[in-house]
Symmetry: none
Amino acid sequence: MSRVDLAEKRDEILQTIRDAAIAEFAAHGFSGASTQGIAARAAITKNRLHYYITSKDDLYADALRYIVALWDEMFHGIDMTQGPEPFLREYISRKLHHVLAHPEIARMFTAEIMRGAPVLQGLWQPAREATLRAAQVVEGWVEAGLIRPIDPILLQMHIWALTQHHALHSVETVFMLGLSNEAELDPDRLTEEIVALVLNGLRPQ
Amino acid sequence: MSRVDLAEKRDEILQTIRDAAIAEFAAHGFSGASTQGIAARAAITKNRLHYYITSKDDLYADALRYIVALWDEMFHGIDMTQGPEPFLREYISRKLHHVLAHPEIARMFTAEIMRGAPVLQGLWQPAREATLRAAQVVEGWVEAGLIRPIDPILLQMHIWALTQHHALHSVETVFMLGLSNEAELDPDRLTEEIVALVLNGLRPQ
Amino acid sequence: MSRVDLAEKRDEILQTIRDAAIAEFAAHGFSGASTQGIAARAAITKNRLHYYITSKDDLYADALRYIVALWDEMFHGIDMTQGPEPFLREYISRKLHHVLAHPEIARMFTAEIMRGAPVLQGLWQPAREATLRAAQVVEGWVEAGLIRPIDPILLQMHIWALTQHHALHSVETVFMLGLSNEAELDPDRLTEEIVALVLNGLRPQ
Amino acid sequence: MSRVDLAEKRDEILQTIRDAAIAEFAAHGFSGASTQGIAARAAITKNRLHYYITSKDDLYADALRYIVALWDEMFHGIDMTQGPEPFLREYISRKLHHVLAHPEIARMFTAEIMRGAPVLQGLWQPAREATLRAAQVVEGWVEAGLIRPIDPILLQMHIWALTQHHALHSVETVFMLGLSNEAELDPDRLTEEIVALVLNGLRPQ
DNA sequence: GATGAATGAGGGTTCATTCAT
DNA sequence: TATGAATGAACCCTCATTCAT
C-alpha cells in the first residue's frame, strides 16, 4: 500500500473509533464507558483500539474537541442582519436537524456538563465570546422594537434547551407521542413548533 | 433502643444512601457509578453499604422509582381549571425550584433516558397517562380560544426541556452568565423568563 | 475471632507480604517485580495481595522504610569509645551476619540506589547525619594516633562495600570458592578476613 | 552505499543498541527493562530495534557476553611479576577508571548476579580460572614474605567489592560526600584511598 | 532495509459481591 | 447490626513479538 493509502486508511479507522467513542461516552459517561465497549462499537478488538489511541482520557478529550469544533462550524455563516425571524428559523432548523441525526453528540456533550465539565471547561471560552456577541445583536433587536425586552443570554440558553432536549430525551418523546422509533421524529415539524413558540414568545406586546 | 427507634434509624440511613446514590449516578451514570463512591458520599464503608442494599442494580431502580414518585407528587394538586396562566406559572415555578435545589435528581433521570431508559421504561406508563390527560386540558384551552393552536404533547415536552435544562446545564449557565457558582442561579428570575416566553409563545394571534 | 486475634493475623500476613516483596524487588528491581510474583512468594493469590496493599509503589516505599529502620537499629548501641578495633570488629560482624542471613534486604537496597534512588532520596538524611557523626569519631582516632590519616567518610563507604558485597555477589563468591551453596558462606570467617584487612589497612605507619 | 559502508553502518547501530540496552538493563534489571525503553535510549523506534535484534533475551545475553569480554580485556597484560604494589596499583586504577566512566556496565553485571546469575552462570568459567591463576601468584607473594597470609580468592573478591561499589552506589557516595553530581567523583583520588587501604592491609606484620 | 499494523499475554488495579464472625 | 476478609471478573494499558508491505 502506498503511503497515501495508508494515511487514508488510518484516518478512516480513527474516524470510526471516534464515532464509536462518542456513542459509548454518550450512553455511559466517561467513567462508565469501557474501551471494550468502544472497540465493540467500532467492530475491532480492544487491542487494536489501544494501538490507535493513546488513552481513554485522550480519546475522550479529542472527541469533545471534535464536538466543539463541529458545533462551531454548524452555526457558521448564519445571517443575523435580517432580523430575528429568518435567523431563528435557520438556527433552530440547523440545530434540530443535526441533533436528530446525531443524538449521541448532544448526549456526550450534556453528560460531560452534568459531571461538572472538567474537560470542557478548558474548551468553551470561545463559545462564551460567541454567546456574548450574539447577545449584543439580540439587544439591538430589542432596542429597535423588533422583539420585546428579554435577557439575551438566557434566551440563547433556552433555545439551546429546546433543541438539545430532543436529542437527550428522544426515547421519551417517542414514547409520549406514541411513535415506534426515533426515526419518526420529524425535524421539520419540531422546528415549526419550536420556532413558533419562540417567535411568538418574543413578539413585542 | 426500641424497635421503633431502630426502624427510624434504619430509614434514616437508607435515605442517606439513596441521596448519595442519586448524586453518584447523576455524576457518572449507572455503569460509571461505583458502590465505593456511593459509600463515600454517604460517609459509610463499602461493607456497610452492601449490608443495607441488595445490589447496585436494585439501588439504582429504587432511586429511579423514588424520583418518579417525587415528581408525581411535586405536580400534585395544581389547579388546571383557572386557565393557562396560573397553571403554567405554578407548574414552572414548582419545577424550577425543585430542580435547582436538587439538580442531581434531574441529572440522574436524564442520564437514564440518554442510555435508552432500560429501567425507566417499566415505570413511566403512569406518566404517559398523566401527559395525555393534561393534553386534553390544553386542547380545551385551544378550543376555548385561550391559547393558539399547538401540539399539546410537544408543549409539555418543551416546558420540561426549558426547566430541566437548568439542572442539567447549570455549570454552563453559570459560566455564560459570568456567575461564581450555582447558588447564584435565582429560580424566581428564571421562572419569570420562562413563564414569559411560554405564555407569550402561546398567545392567540 | 477476637479483635486482637484479627489484628495479629493481619500483622502476620502483612509481614509475610513485606518479606515476599523484598525478595521480589531484590531479584527484579522495582519495575521488573510483579505483584503476581510477590503474591506467589507469599503463597497467596494476587487478589488477596491487592486486598492488603494499596499499590505496588506504596509496598515498595514501605519496604524501603522498613529496611532503613532495620539498619538503623542494627548498628544501635555499638561502643565507639574503646577505640577502632573493638568497634570495627563489632560493626563488621553485625553487618555481615545480618547481610548473609538476609541478602535480599541488601540487594533491594542496592537495586534502589542503582536506579538513582528515587524513593530512598527522601529517606536517608538521617543516615547522612550518622555518617558525619561517625566521621568525627574517626578523625579523633587519627588525631590520637590510633590510626593513620584517612578520609573518614570514604572509609565508611569502603567498609560498607566490603560487607554489602557478600550479599549482592554471594552466588559469585560461592562459585569462585567452589562451595555448593550460599549457606556455606561463613560469616565469622568473612568477618575475620575483612576485619584483618581493614585494621591492618588503618595501622599507623 | 558500498557493501563495506553498509556493514559499518550496521555495526554502528548495533553498538548504539547495545549501549542503550546496557543502560536500560542496569537501571531496571532484565524483566524491568523494556524494548521500548531501549529503543528510546538508542533514539530509534521499537520497530527498528526489533529489526536489528532477535529477542530481548538474546540482546541481554549478548550484552553480558560483551561485558565479560570487556573486563577480560581490561585487565589484560598487567605485570604480576614485579610484586604486589605495582600490580595492585595498576589493577585498581584500571578498574576504577573504567567503572566510573561506565557505571551502567558494572550495574548490569551486579543486577544479573543479584537475580541468581541465570545467564552469567554459563559464561564465567574462564573468569574462575583466571581467579585461580591469580590466587597462585598471590600465594607466591605470601610465601615470599611480601604480604601477610591471606585468603587469595577472598582478597580478589574484596578488591572487586571496593571498586565495584563506586559504580553501584555512586549516587550514595555523592550524597554522603556532599558533592553535586557523579562527575565530581575523582577516580585518581579513590584509587589512592583504596590502594592505601589494601596495601597496608596486606603488609606483613 | 525499514516501518506501520496487529496481537496475545500479562501488567497493576478496581469492581461488585459473598463469606465469616 | 456491623465489619474485616476474600474473590472472580473486569478495568485500562503496556509488553515483546510477528506480519505485511
